[in-house]
């Protein structure tokens, strides 16, 4: 534009008249204004360009974001044990289907398939391929290797569909805890059912409080006793006494969750949480704790157990009758029903009901499983009930309830509802917390009484019916239970429910273990006995001796004076003069 202005402009201006000059001036002014406008605009654009390229994100938009790496989307999240061991996962498998019209030679195809899929049902496959449908399923859940070999057969008309299959690597071991899920990826039992929503919505694995090592040991030892005594069922669970975390939970018979068949069968019944039983003498710990807590009797008191208590046409009698006055420790050592009944009778029905209610024995357990049994509570709760419940008859509860209650008896008196999920982060979980701190539980017993109950449970193992649960170094305490089962409305001496509830080490209990066998038969090894002390206590002994070192519990020298003092119980009866009627 500037070039177009003739250089002779100033020279020739004299030759121009006023009007032309004025027009040129106007044009020049306008030109200047437009030029200025352009200058400003380009300056702004330039500045913006510099700003955008140098000051701001100068680089290309991140392509990585555009084609982000997809994660594996699964129908269900994994389940891990407390140490991160895989307990349940979903694996991709392939389902084989066919378009029958495209199959050239059915016999050849079936023969070839049979050679690589030995489980193929030939007849069914043949009839399906011969049908005039356009689509038939041939085989479910092929492994990647099987898919490869089928592909290499080169049969026309076959194809695959990806499907997911739920895999439980530990098979029967975790059956009753994990449950199983169906082909439609919905949990049908156990944690799989209880946590169905969480497992399906997130791909984050769920961590349980279960310890697969402990679970395996408990399962193995319980199975051995279960078979040896030909029990119709068995249950066992181990629990952290200081926070209610369940480390192992076994119910026998069990099933393989990878292939759950006959779902209504006995094997699918979770005896540890769904089954409710009249537990028998293990209840005497609760009775003793209740009596000591209410102050109706002291550790040095006792009751006369000479005569059976007659109640209508029934009579409460002892299994090992001593025929004399018994101190409180003796009532537990000899497992005296008469003593326990009198103890509870002194506390009274209201007190007993309130105490057992506080322990959560009158309402279903809060454990995270769909299979939770409702306790059978006597109604109305009569004076007779008070006496029978004292030694575990007339009130049926599940093993998990009993273990939860027992944990509260020994851990300083705080009830932590049983849980299958870790309550404390792993890092702080291993420290030596005193029993009183930790998770907020509810106080059901004073620490002093809990301490006395610990002594009582220890003396039962040291001198009483629980002798066969002794493990050197782990200071086991416990209580045996042998309940006669109701058969056709009558208690039968033949059908027993034998159990043992224990805790260790008794100076500061870390774990509670409950073992129960339903209708065990006595063997030569047990001199024909099938009582709790003979069949369940040895299981506890073996489990504790194997898991103790695993769980990092420092062995305790039982002979050490300090330990002896801590566990001291004056067993000797002082005679009826001290009877606290």
């Amino acid at each position: 534009m500037i070039r177009q202005n003739p250089p002779s402009y100033t020279k020739g201006c004299q030759a121009l008249d006023g009007i032309t000059k004025q027009a040129l001036d106007t044009a020049r002014n306008r030109l200047l204004m437009i030029g200025a406008l352009f200058l400003v605009t380009f300056t702004v654009i330039g500045a913006r360009l510099i700003g955008l390229t140098m000051m701001h994100d100068g680089h290309e938009p991140r392509l990585v974001q555009a084609t982000e790496l997809g994660t594996l989307k699964r129908e269900r999240a994994d389940i891990l044990d407390r140490n991160g061991i895989l307990l349940a996962t979903s694996l991709r498998t392939h389902w084989l289907y066919a378009h029958p019209q495209q199959i050239l030679d059915i016999d050849e195809a079936v023969d070839k398939l049979k050679s690589v899929l030995p489980n193929l049902e030939e007849k069914l496959a043949r009839s399906r391929l011969a049908s005039d449908r356009s689509f038939v399923w041939i085989y479910r859940h092929l492994t990647p290797r099987q898919k490869y070999t089928v592909n290499s057969l080169g049969i026309l008309g076959l194809d695959f569909q990806n499907e997911e299959k739920r895999i439980y690597p530990h098979r029967n071991l975790t059956a009753h805890v994990l449950g199983f899920s169906g082909n439609d990826h919905h949990g049908l039992a156990g944690v799989e059912h209880f946590m169905n929503k969480e497992l399906r919505s997130s791909s984050e694995p769920i961590r349980l409080s279960l310890d697969i090592r402990v679970q395996s040991i408990l399962h193995e030892e319980l199975s051995r006793a279960h078979q040896h005594h030909q029990a119709i069922g068995s249950a066992g669970l181990m629990m952290d006494a200081r926070n209610g975390e369940v480390l192992a939970l076994v119910s026998l018979p069990d099933f393989d969750p990878n292939n759950p068949r006959n779902r209504d069968g006995e094997a699918f019944f979770n005896r540890a949480t769904l089954g409710v039983y009249e537990m028998g003498s293990t209840f005497k710990i609760f009775t003793a704790a209740m009596a000591l807590e209410s102050g109706t009797v002291g550790l040095d008191g006792g009751y006369d157990a000479t005569e059976p208590i007659g109640m209508g046409h029934d009579a409460i009698s002892d299994y090992h009758p001593q025929g004399r006055w018994l101190s409180v420790p003796e009532i537990l050592i000899h497992s005296s029903n008469i003593g326990a009944a009198k103890m509870a009778s002194d506390v009274g029905t209201t007190g007993q009901r309130a105490f057992l209610g506080k322990l959560g024995l009158l309402s279903p357990a809060s454990i995270e499983l769909p299979e939770v049994g409702k306790p059978l509570v006597p109604s109305p709760w009569s004076e007779l009930n008070t006496m029978t419940v004292a030694y575990g008859h007339g009130l049926a509860i599940s093993p998990v309830q009993l273990a939860t209650g027992a944990a509260a008896m020994v851990n300083g008196g705080i009830l932590y509802p049983a849980t299958l999920f870790p309550r404390v982060p792993k890092e702080t979980g291993k420290d030596e917390r005193p029993p009183e701190t930790g998770e907020p539980g509810s106080r059901v017993l004073s620490p002093e009484i809990s301490e006395q109950v610990r002594r009582l449970m220890r003396v039962v193992v040291a001198k009483g019916t629980g002798k066969r649960a002794k493990v050197n170094g782990y200071l086991v305490g416990g209580k045996t239970g042998t309940a006669e089962k109701l058969v056709d409305g009558d208690y039968s001496a033949k059908a027993l429910l034998s159990s043992f509830v224990s805790a260790f080490p008794m100076t500061a209990p870390r774990y509670v273990l409950f073992v129960m066998l339903d209708e065990p038969k006595g063997t030569e090894k047990t001199n024909g006995y099938a009582t709790g002390g003979w069949v369940a206590a040895p299981v506890a002994r073996r489990v504790i001796s194997r898991t103790g070192p695993l769980l990092g519990i420092l062995p305790i020298d039982e002979g050490a004076p300090e330990v002896q003092r801590k566990m001291f119980v004056d067993v000797a009866p002082r005679g009826p003069s001290r009877v606290s009627y």
Partner: protein, 146 residues
């Protein structure tokens, strides 16, 4: 007539056009490669997932125990074999024992029986004399001064 400026612009246009095409082509190739790699990663993740399940299956505690009985023969250890460092008798330091012998002695006597204490003391004291010391002389040397 094409002016030099226009010519320059055309040349630049051709260069940039070609450059842009080249880069876009390369990006396309790289994106294809990226997609392939992502696919591979997913496949590997899938494989790792399956192998994890396999690993868990092969590590069933029962199975490990079976293999142990077959090949190793390890047995569980008993509680008696676990103790704390504190519960162990203290190691006797010959250099510092001159000043603290009395102290150490009383401390150690509380932990070990007198006879074993003596033998231990003898074994620990004076490493120079240890080489030519006969078992008899060790037994006589009842500790204290090195």
């Amino acid at each position: 007539m094409i002016r030099p400026m226009t010519l320059a612009c055309l040349v630049l246009l051709a260069i940039f056009g070609f450059g842009l095409f080249k880069i876009q082509h390369e990006v396309q190739i790289m994106e294809a490669e990226l997609t392939r790699l992502h696919g591979n990663i997913l496949n590997d993740q899938e494989a790792i997932h399956a192998l994890n399940a396999d690993w868990s299956y092969l590590n069933r505690p029962r199975q490990l125990q079976k293999l142990n009985t077959k090949f190793l023969g390890f047995t569980p250890f008993s509680a008696e074999r676990i103790t704390t460092i504190k519960a162990l008798p203290m190691r006797h330091d010959p250099a510092s024992s001159k000043q603290t012998t009395g102290e150490n002695k009383s401390l150690e006597q509380g932990l070990t029986s007198p006879s074993s204490h003596d033998v231990r003391q003898a074994l620990l004291t004076g490493d120079a004399s240890e080489k030519d010391a006969s078992p008899a002389s060790l037994a006589i040397n009842t500790g204290g001064a090195p």
